[in-house]
Symmetry: C2
Subunit: 412 residues, 2 copies
């Protein structure tokens, strides 16, 4: 029995109780929302993951992407990124490894951490197949099976990249086409073989597999816009409609599901994107990448995405995938991971205040009280990053700071 | 004749033509908006400032604060910050010096730059008076006169900190009280002397002075909230009502005027704050500090304010005062100034895209086209900070980047 099935059967599990306690909510509220598909707790049945709720009425969660690439396959470095992610408050981790051994990091993460783990199994089949066109439907499903069996809590599956969606894309060309790595792999395969996306065609098999391991499906947005110019276009929305259908099927088959979303979106279209997803997908949890609100700031995309992420969270997005300063340019280094996490935490928290999440302003109020009292130690302990605080607050003996000194407005 | 008077008299000046050209607008549109008080071009009549338009339908401008303090009085360092501010695209500079010689930096900035300069004259009187309670009305007005005579393009004057507003504050206590430096000086003076704010009581004299030098008034928000808890409270709005009255008087007396705004504001209250200012102040330009959307991220307040600033700009704010990572902790270093500028530029630009400013997406579109073409040189030239781009893009010979390598979604 999956967690969703239990919720539907009116069973309050220990995971639900745990989430209820963490979120300062009633366990029955958590159960009810899981049963309605508006909250998920991604947790593979074989893994001892810390139960983490994502969805309606809960604090906005953030995800950190790590993983090797063909150009950088350094496991020590990736584990360092894992530790930094946990230290600075990532609620989930995704292993996006595309290095030669795609199994290794995933298994290390499972050994060494307890936060929910997500993966993109098609990367494993892509690496194994050398050229994606060599991949068979079985290769792809075997990869998903392996990931699920290992204990992966949620898998990104780009089931919505269908022939129909590719037709829409062809008829409505874009500036940056497909920028989703998994989405582009499937599109290439489908175009080469002139066949439907196996994740769509054999979706029932996929559900069977997910149900068996109680792995949550994260329905990937292969058509997410890769530029402001492509935002909220027909291909993106066409795919979303399909994802909404697939989410409904997963829900009916007792498989927990969330929807992935954009991407590059101008500020004034973010709320619409969130409300649209909620309306189409029966309020299933929404997991957004960014959104990035301008294309012109490579090197600072943790900031462009903090802007978009905060507005998305305030509008109802449930889960933010961080973006690091190295986005669009290189695989992130450990310091980039830290910067990405902090920016995403700020965005999620700003969104939570706006959403009116219970207790969201408590830490802000304590910080402001400490500021009023010129209690610098207390301020440091309440800061999202006490290390950064310390870096600036070098004159630790002064009652005031070097900006205002004796003209400090707060000093009596 | 002030610029505003000329606009009212249907005269299109060379400053208006310059702004029209820069903004890709019709000169008559600029004149009309200046005449209506919805656009200003802060420019002291004695100074050769590059004409910079702030207001309705124009790109959102950003300001960089520099200046000495009692703890840090290093003129070379401040001039370095000035150069960095100009290099990374500040549209205006404010000298907030509170070091012992408050005249020196202002005069150096006037010598060495051509972007509009703003100051807060009360800081000069505070430094001269040793204790603010020793200040006389004449001291304060002499300081304003000196700043205006030197060529200051706009002065922040906290005219709205009236006895009535202090009464409101007393009746509705706040977590962080008054956090505006100038506001707190005036409040201390008024409380000690049991007298009305001289900037309010002798506002007509102030207007006379401003008109003489064609110095724009920036009506300071001495009651801006210093914490999420104090946001949009009675004291803040009481002051705004008074500022709206004073702005009307300035406008009637042919003195250009803008309104300063918050501060610490939760995300969901930002739009309301902007719309309220516009409604009360007859659409006078709005100059906001931040807003900062959470109190818990000292060391990262360039990010918390980029979130708030982007939403403010999208909602109609015209001018963003940058916030650096060292805000709340220390006088910023040159690198902090750079980070503050870049974050504010991102916020302003994201707002401009949302506001539908003519041509705002052109650079985004060019960047996205360069991305599609894997044209890294072009991308670098279009980046807000080409140096940061270069820092991440170390593998300059590769067709793709180290994140996706051969799995690059964009590569054909």
């Amino acid at each position: 029995m999956t967690l969703l099935k239990k919720a539907k059967d009116n069973i309050i599990t220990k995971e639900m109780k745990h989430v209820a306690k963490t979120e300062n909510q009633d366990p029955e509220y958590i159960r009810k929302c899981i049963a309605a598909g508006t909250i998920i707790i991604p947790k593979n049945k074989s893994r001892n993951t810390t139960p983490t709720g994502i969805g309606e009425g809960l604090t906005t969660k953030i995800n950190s992407n790590i993983g090797t690439s063909q150009d950088c396959e350094n496991y020590e470095e990736e584990l360092k990124k894992l530790q930094i992610s946990i230290k600075y408050g990532a609620d989930a981790i995704m292993d996006l490894s595309t290095g030669n051994d795609t199994d290794r990091l995933r298994r290390l993460i499972i050994q060494k951490s307890h936060i929910p783990l997500g993966t993109v199994p098609i990367y494993s089949s892509a690496v194994q197949s050398k050229d994606i066109t060599n991949m068979t439907k079985d290769n792809l499903f075997d990869a998903i099976k392996t990931h699920a069996k290992d204990g992966t809590d949620f898998v990104t599956v780009h089931c919505g990249v269908t022939l129909k969606v590719l037709e829409t894309l062809k008829n409505h060309p874009r500036t940056t086409g497909i920028v989703s790595r998994g989405g582009s792999m499937l599109a290439k395969w489908m175009t080469y073989h002139k066949k439907e996306n196996p994740l769509y065609e054999y979706y029932d098999e996929l559900l069977e597999l997910a149900r068996k391991h109680d792995t949550t499906l994260s329905l990937g947005d292969g058509l997410r816009p890769g530029s402001i110019a492509d935002s909220t276009d027909k291909s993106q929305i066409q795919e979303l409609i399909i994802l909404a259908d697939l989410a409904k099927k997963a829900y009916e088959q007792d498989v927990q599901v969330m929807i992935e979303g954009p991407g590059h979106i101008p500020l004034h279209e973010i709320e619409t994107n969130i409300k649209l997803q909620k309306a189409l997908c029966n309020n299933a949890p929404f997991y957004v990448l960014g959104p990035i609100v301008t294309d012109i700031a490579p090197g600072y995309d943790h900031i462009t995405s903090a802007i978009g992420g905060a507005i998305a969270a305030a509008s109802g997005a449930d889960f933010l995938c961080y973006v690091t300063p190295s986005e669009h340019l290189a695989l992130p280094q450990a310091e980039d991971v830290k910067q990405g996490i902090i920016a995403a935490k700020i965005a999620a928290h700003a969104g939570d205040i706006a959403k009116g999440i219970k207790g969201a302003t408590e830490r802000d109020n304590a910080m402001s009280q400490a500021r009023k009292n010129l209690d610098w130690k207390k301020q440091q302990s309440l800061a999202l990053d006490p290390t950064a605080f310390k870096k600036y607050r070098i004159d630790t003996d002064h009652e005031t700071c070097t900006m205002c000194g004796k003209y400090c407005a707060i000093k009596k």
